[in-house]
């Protein structure tokens, strides 16, 4: 068969599957947006399966990376040593101050019967992979559901918060970094307790979206997690405010590209329960309990009206189904 004839014949046959595959790809994008769970499970299984390989590959490459990085440090080791000595002396002073202040805070808390902060458990994990893609900045940890890691938990290194777990397999977890475009966490800017949202945009310094646009924020202010929403514990160190044109950004304390070992914080705010009646303020003060409100008179229905059976009998929704329906509605 001549070449020209073959090309024409083949093109005629190839158009149909190409169109079908294009349509399938569009359907996959839409289905993935609606139901990303299947993809996430596939990712988690794949990462679990690859985890031993990643650990083996990562160790020597880390060594090479450190060695390459250390070449440049040879020339700055003397000045770096002086700087560290000075910083160490300053930190010792701050440590003494903080010990005194910590004792004072404990004393005040005891005097005020303050509600103690929830205890935090942490899982120590090693970073076995990093990925910097246009639409995702992530790292992979060697701790997963078997170790107690769950989606939503905060991930920190020794300097500050790095990101949050967003996907867990059995033995691995994916972390969405604070710099990732999908990252949004509520933060507090101290001093002044200014509330803001820290929004990643794939740049090294995430954007700071202030809740009140005229709030007083200065360069150098400290940014910590606010704990709003109960997903993250309050007070996790994140970074310092830096100026960016008309707005503000945050220079992160942690460097996700250098972190080797991280902590996955297991934080769950305990559900609030009603105190017993004896501890309610009125009864504790010796006053009688508040009388229940009187029933509302059914004034809207005239006395001559007879109750009418509903024409359509509404099905009784079990509580779990109702909750699911509410969740679906909320989504």
């Amino acid at each position: 068969m001549a070449n020209g004839t073959w090309k024409i014949a083949r093109r005629g046959n190839a158009q149909l599957p190409l169109v079908i595959v294009l349509v399938l790809a569009v359907v996959l994008v839409l289905a993935g947006k609606a139901q990303s769970g299947l993809f996430d499970q596939a990712r988690a299984h794949l990462t679990d399966w690859m985890a031993p390989l990643l650990e083996e590959v990562h160790a020597p490459l880390d060594g090479v990376e450190r060695w390459i990085g250390s070449i440049g440090q040879i020339f700055t080791v003397y000045s770096e040593n002086l700087r560290l000595k000075e910083e160490n002396a300053r930190l010792r002073q701050w440590r003494n101050t903080s010990v005194v202040l910590q004792g004072r805070v404990r004393h005040y808390e005891a005097l005020l019967h303050a509600v103690p902060d929830p205890r935090l458990n942490a899982v120590l994990a090693r970073v076995i992979g990093r990925a910097s893609r246009p639409f995702l900045r992530t790292m992979i940890l060697d701790a997963g559901a078997e170790n107690g890691a769950k989606a939503g938990q905060a991930v920190l290194d020794d300097k500050g918060m790095i990101g949050r777990v967003y996907l867990t397999g059995k033995r691995t977890a994916w972390v969405v970094l604070l710099t990732d475009i999908n990252s949004r966490i509520p933060v507090t800017i101290a001093p002044g307790s200014v509330q803001a949202m820290l929004a990643g945009d794939n740049s090294p310094t995430p954007r700071l979206d202030l809740v009140e646009s005229d709030a007083a924020v200065k360069v150098g202010d400290q940014v910590v997690s606010s704990g709003d929403g109960g997903l993250l514990p309050p007070g996790l160190p994140i970074g310092t405010v830096v100026k960016d044109g008309s707005g503000f950004r945050v220079a992160l304390l942690a460097d996700a590209t250098q972190s080797e070992s991280v902590e996955v914080l297991n934080f769950a705010r305990p559900p609030e329960t009603m105190p017993p009646a004896s501890q309610l303020p009125s009864e504790a003060a010796g006053l009688p309990p508040l009388a229940p409100p009187p029933p509302q008179p059914e004034a809207a229905i005239p006395s001559s009206a007879t109750p009418v059976a509903p024409r359509l009998k509404m099905p009784v929704i079990p509580s779990t189904t109702a909750a699911a329906a509410q969740d679906a509605g909320a989504e």
Binding site: M1, W6, K7, R10, A14, P17, L18, I20, V21, L22, L24, A25, V26, L28, V29, L30, A31, G32, K33, S36, L38, F39, A42, R43, L46, L54, V57, H58, L61, V64, E65, I68, I128, G129, R130, A131, S132, R133, P134, F135, L136, R137, T138, M139, I140, W174, I181, D201, N202, S203, A256, T257, Q258
Partner: protein, 178 residues
């Protein structure tokens, strides 16, 4: 191997040879997505899976079908952690661009061939970016996408040399029957 021998190559060998382009694409995706970086994540990894798609779409389109491009793109989605379907759509659109302009792309050589691949990679990256922008109602940072595109184009020459060697050693002798 003579023409007659090629025509009568065992069916199983022909079938295996037909899977080589798909396998190369999948291998490229796996290699590119090993989450290890020598440069501290400063630049994104290239879309290595796109090189076999482009190469065999030009050289032997009967071996690199739209379904194969779909599968390679889907593995890229799963392994890269990108929003589901983004790179699948990108790879299939790049395939469609190359397949429709196959005669133009196939005649390119040297730097022009690299530019041809750059056009295909641009189609994939632009489609993925547009899809993300539509899905999430905000434009992703273009700098990262441009970096991905640049890395992919930079990886084309070694990638094309590798798939060309695979083609000549494995695929060509078994299936060059027309």
């Amino acid at each position: 191997m003579g023409t007659t021998e090629r025509l009568y190559a065992p069916a199983i060998q022909r079938f295996a040879a037909a899977l080589v382009p798909l396998f190369c694409g999948l291998l490229g995706v796996v290699i590119a997505n090993i989450p290890v970086s020598f440069v501290g994540g400063l630049v994104p990894p290239p879309l290595l899976g796109l090189v076999p798609v482009y190469f065999w779409c030009l050289v032997r389109p009967d071996l690199m079908t739209p379904a194969a491009a779909f599968a390679i793109g889907m593995l890229e989605d799963v392994m890269s952690g990108s929003p589901p379907g983004i790179w699948t759509l990108g790879f299939v659109v790049a395939y469609a661009v190359v397949a429709r302009q196959r005669d133009s792309f196939a005649g390119l050589a040297g730097i022009a061939a690299v530019l041809g691949f750059a056009a295909a990679a641009l189609a994939a990256c632009a489609t993925a970016t547009l899809a993300v922008a539509l899905l999430y109602a905000h434009l992703p940072p273009l700098g990262a996408v441009v970096a991905e595109l640049a890395m992919t184009v930079a990886a084309y020459i070694p990638g094309a040399l590798a798939v060309s060697a695979v083609h000549h050693r494995l695929v060509g002798p078994l299936r060059s029957d027309f």
